[in-house]
Symmetry: C2
Subunit: 309 residues, 2 copies
């Protein structure tokens, strides 16, 4: 297949692209290098069928191929809040251009939605049928509402324009190639641990997150891409349902580093979700997928990566 | 002032535009006549300072003036569901173009959001701080999520680009100039009553709505337009908190018609909110506004209008 990966120079995009190349597909990456980095694509250049184009999904652009996978959007709060209008435009215009492109060329369009569409959930764990608890006018809204509006448009393309759009909601994912300054808890902890610093805990550290290793996530996306069209559900959660408090994660990082625990507590930021955990029954059923890499296993290569950035 | 009203040929837009003209302002209406109608603007043509332009907010367009009031979007489920992608584009692109226009020319931008951002609420009545319960991939999503994303963009323009954007959430509104085929309960009941037909009740008729007469709403919008900038809240509900079941509304229509009650029951459509009622404490406090026209009073001219369409 000829596959376009938008945002392919980013953390998840670069892992996914490498997997597609290894599977023997021709892959074109569009990335504006806003949060993506060319060095994430180093191993990719060994493949003949790899092409990189510096391009921004906010602008319409032509492509010919069989499949589009849209991962283009700043995804960590520190990055998506830096320029909220840019984030909103990337999410909303990006998906609009790609939907029309997919319709025109008859390509399958996979789109990365996010557990952020559930906001600060009042139902646990979150299944796909939960509608979410999201602030439209808060500091996270540019991302959350941009992604919600993107889901809506793609669902309507699927329903009314007969375009093969496929939506997956990514929960917290970690692994090598994360940006050290992305402000997420795994990168924060790993960077701080690698530098021998105190780990920063926001709030009391009892809020939980579930952490999916990036290779597990990529496998889920690829299974969704290969599903016969008639079996594709309207949207599917991809994440690891293992639930850890920030304090438990910190403990694990210290254990792997073989160092003494040192913690620093700071106030919880506005609209920070206190708990989020995927229900992945649907993914198990339709994709035959569930994560297989434990947090301890996945943290090892992640910590190694962060020691060298 | 020179004021642009987008969607000014629609139900609410035509009432608002007439009020602005009567206040002595120069008003330009942009409307693509998708659900707006030129005959709604008949009285307006008596004013020298009135101008109509057939224009679609999905396309960027220039304007010079002091204030923009954005009412451009199909607003009734039957209309907004007819072409969901068109609805999404109107809401999302419309607000994007107008936000950039307002920023460029230094105009105040008022934007009609909607009680639909609360979805099928699990909190009653709804105050502005309630985040809503909205399906991203249902039949109402093109409107609900389009409007939610619009709120987000305008709030970020207010916060990060120092543009004077003002958001109000309109609850159910009724009055002359409603489209007879808009599928809303007031127009349905009035049309059916005027034709001597049975009134259609969806579900058991015990779901409630609050109904605001259009002149009350217009007064609230105009007060928000005239508020000193530093007093403008992030978003304000405009609606009538009086709560009526569909059965009570039907009874009132029969009473005003002086005819015998005849009802027909049909199943409730997908995602239909069972109850919605505004909390308007904020509007009372900052705008000194509350509706003054009772449902019985407002229904009289409305029924008269529907007898003649």
């Amino acid at each position: 297949m000829n596959i376009l990966v938008t945002g392919g120079a980013g953390f998840i995009g670069s892992h996914l692209t490498l997997r597609l190349l290894k599977e023997g597909h021709a892959v074109t990456v569009w990335d504006n290098l806003h949060t993506g980095r060319l060095k994430n694509l180093t191993a990719h250049r060994d493949f003949d069928k790899f092409q990189f184009v510096e391009a921004d999904v906010r602008e319409a652009r032509d492509y010919q191929g069989d499949m589009i996978i849209n991962l283009a959007c700043p995804a960590s709060p520190v990055h998506y809040q830096a320029d909220p209008v840019f984030t909103w435009e990337t999410s909303v215009f990006g998906v609009h251009h790609l939907a029309h492109l997919a319709e025109k060329i008859g390509a399958v369009l996979l789109h990365a939605s996010t557990s952020e569409v559930y906001g600060d959930p009042d139902v646990h764990p979150q299944s796909e049928s939960y509608w979410g608890n999201v602030n439209t006018i808060g500091i996270r809204s540019c991302y959350d509402e941009g992604k919600r509006a993107a889901e809506t448009l793609l669902h309507d393309f699927r329903t009314f324009k007969n375009t093969d759009t496929r939506l997956f909601r990514i929960f917290n994912t970690y692994g090598p190639q994360m940006l050290p300054d992305d402000g997420r808890v795994v990168s924060n902890f790993c960077v701080q641990a690698a530098r021998g610093q105190e780990l920063t805990i926001f709030g009391d550290g009892k809020q939980t997150r579930s952490f999916c290793y990036v290779e597990d996530l990529v496998d889920g996306i690829w299974r969704l891409a290969n599903l016969p069209r008639e079996k594709v559900p309207p949207v599917v959660n991809l994440g690891n349902p293992g639930e850890f408090t920030m304090l438990e994660l910190a403990e694990l990082v210290f254990k792997l580093m073989g160092s003494e625990p040192k913690l620093k507590f700071l106030p919880l930021p506005q609209d920070d979700p206190k708990r989020r955990k995927p229900n992945i029954e649907l993914a198990k059923e339709v994709l035959g997928w569930e994560p297989v890499i434990s947090l301890q296993e996945g943290l090892k290569p992640t910590l190694e990566y962060f020691k060298n950035v």
